[in-house]
C-alpha cells in the first residue's frame, strides 16, 4: 500500500474528502499533526512524501523545510509555499516571469506608504503580506482613511503589519475567478460572486462553474510556471485589459468547487502526490 504523510492540525471538510479518496484509492495516509510534531534533523518518518494541508502557514513552512532537508519530498515544495504564502514573494515571482498581475507598491513606514498610495490614486487595497480568507483587507478610498488605517496597522504587534502591501484596486464585474491547477494543468475553475468587493468564498461569495477558455488556461500555465508547479489555486480578475492574476494559493480549499465543476479535486491531489512519490 502506498504511504503518504499528511500534515494538518485541523480536519476541515477538505481533509476529510482527501481521507475518503485515499481509502478508495488504497493509499495509506499517515497523519502528521503539527501540534505533536518534533523534528530533529533526521529522517525518522514512515513515508517518503508529505502532503501539506497544514492550516498554519508558519508551521507549514518550517515543517516543509525541515523534512525536505532530510530527503522527504513535499507537496507542495517549500519553495512554492514560500512564494505563495507571502504576497510580496508572489508579486515578485509573477513580475519576474512577466505574468500579468495587479500593480503593487511596498513600503515600510506610514509616511512612505501614504506617499505610495497617493501616487497610485484612490482607491487602493491594503493587504497583509501573510494571511488568507480575505482577512484584514482594507479598501482605502481617501486620504483620511489611509492615514487612519496605516496608523492602526503600524501599532499591530506583528512586524508583518508594518510591511505595507498596497495593491491597485480594479473594478470587478461582481466576481473573480479561481482556477485550480494541478500538475501543470488547469483542471477546473469557478466564478466567485459577491455584492461585496471581497469575493472570497470564506467571506460568503457564491460559487459557479467557470468555463476554461484558452486565455484562462494560458494565463494559468504561465502562473504555474512562474510559481514552480505543484497544486495551486490561482485567483484571477477580469479587467478591461484582460485577465490578471490577483493571488496564488498553495493549500487551497475546494469544498465548494467539486460539485460545481464536476471535478474530483481531492482525487487529483492524491494522484499528483503519488506521482511525485514515484518520481522522487
Amino acid at each position: 500500500m502506498n504511504k503518504v504523510g499528511i500534515l494538518f492540525s485541523r480536519m476541515r471538510k477538505e481533509e476529510k474528502l482527501i481521507f475518503e479518496e485515499a481509502q478508495k484509492m488504497g493509499v495509506d495516509l499517515i497523519r502528521v499533526d503539527s501540534r505533536n510534531l518534533i523534528m530533529n534533523g533526521e529522517n525518522h518518518y514512515d513515508f517518503n512524501i508529505l502532503l501539506d494541508r497544514e492550516i498554519s502557514h508558519t508551521r507549514s513552512l518550517y515543517t516543509l523545510q525541515m523534512l525536505e532537508s532530510v530527503g522527504v519530498k513535499t507537496v507542495n515544495s517549500h519553495r512554492v509555499a514560500t512564494i505563495c504564502g507571502d504576497k510580496v514573494s508572489t508579486t515578485v515571482a509573477l513580475n519576474q516571469a512577466g505574468v500579468p498581475t495587479l500593480q503593487v507598491k511596498v513600503a515600510f513606514s506610514r509616511e512612505s506608504a501614504l506617499e505610495a498610495i497617493e501616487t497610485m490614486g484612490y482607491p487602493v487595497v491594503l493587504k497583509p503580506v501573510i494571511g488568507s480568507w480575505g482577512r484584514l483587507l482594507a479598501k482605502i478610498n481617501d486620504r483620511d482613511s489611509a492615514e487612519a488605517i496605516l496608523e492602526h496597522k503600524a501599532y499591530l504587534p506583528s512586524g508583518y503589519h508594518s510591511v505595507f502591501y498596497i495593491q491597485e484596486y480594479v473594478e470587478k464585474p461582481g466576481r473573480d475567478i479561481r482556477a485550480f491547477c494541478i500538475d501543470g494543468k488547469t483542471v477546473c475553475a469557478i466564478y466567485r460572486s459577491s455584492d461585496h468587493w471581497i469575493t472570497n468564498t470564506a467571506r460568503g461569495a457564491r460559487a459557479e462553474n467557470c468555463p476554461l477558455t484558452p486565455e484562462l488556461i494560458n494565463l494559468c500555465e504561465q502562473t504555474v510556471q512562474a510559481i514552480g508547479g505543484g497544486i495551486l489555486a490561482v485567483d484571477i480578475m477580469e479587467t478591461k485589459d484582460g485577465l490578471v492574476i490577483n493571488e496564488v494559493n498553495h493549500k487551497m480549499e475546494f469544498r465548494n468547487s467539486i460539485d460545481i465543476s464536476g471535478v474530483n479535486i481531492p482525487a487529483l491531489i492524491l494522484e499528483y502526490t503519488l506521482k511525485m512519490d514515484r518520481l522522487s
Binding site: R10, M11, S56
Partner: protein, 54 residues
C-alpha cells in the same frame, strides 16, 4: 454523557465525525475539536490565528 466544555450542554455528535474534526456546540456555538472517538472526547478548538488560511 459528553458535555460541551464551554457551556456544559449535552453534545449530540454528528454522524461521520472523525478525529480532529471541528464541531459546533448547538447551544453556545463554541467550536470544539474532537480529540478522540473512543472514548469520545472534545475540547475547545484553537482560535483562528493570523497565519491560518489556504
Amino acid at each position: 454523557m459528553l458535555e460541551c466544555p464551554v457551556c456544559g450542554t449535552h453534545l449530540a455528535m454528528p454522524s461521520g465525525v472523525v478525529e480532529n474534526e471541528i464541531i459546533d456546540c448547538g447551544t453556545c456555538s463554541a467550536e470544539l475539536e474532537v480529540l478522540s472517538l473512543n472514548p469520545l472526547s472534545v475540547e475547545e478548538a484553537p482560535e483562528e490565528q493570523e497565519d491560518w488560511g489556504e
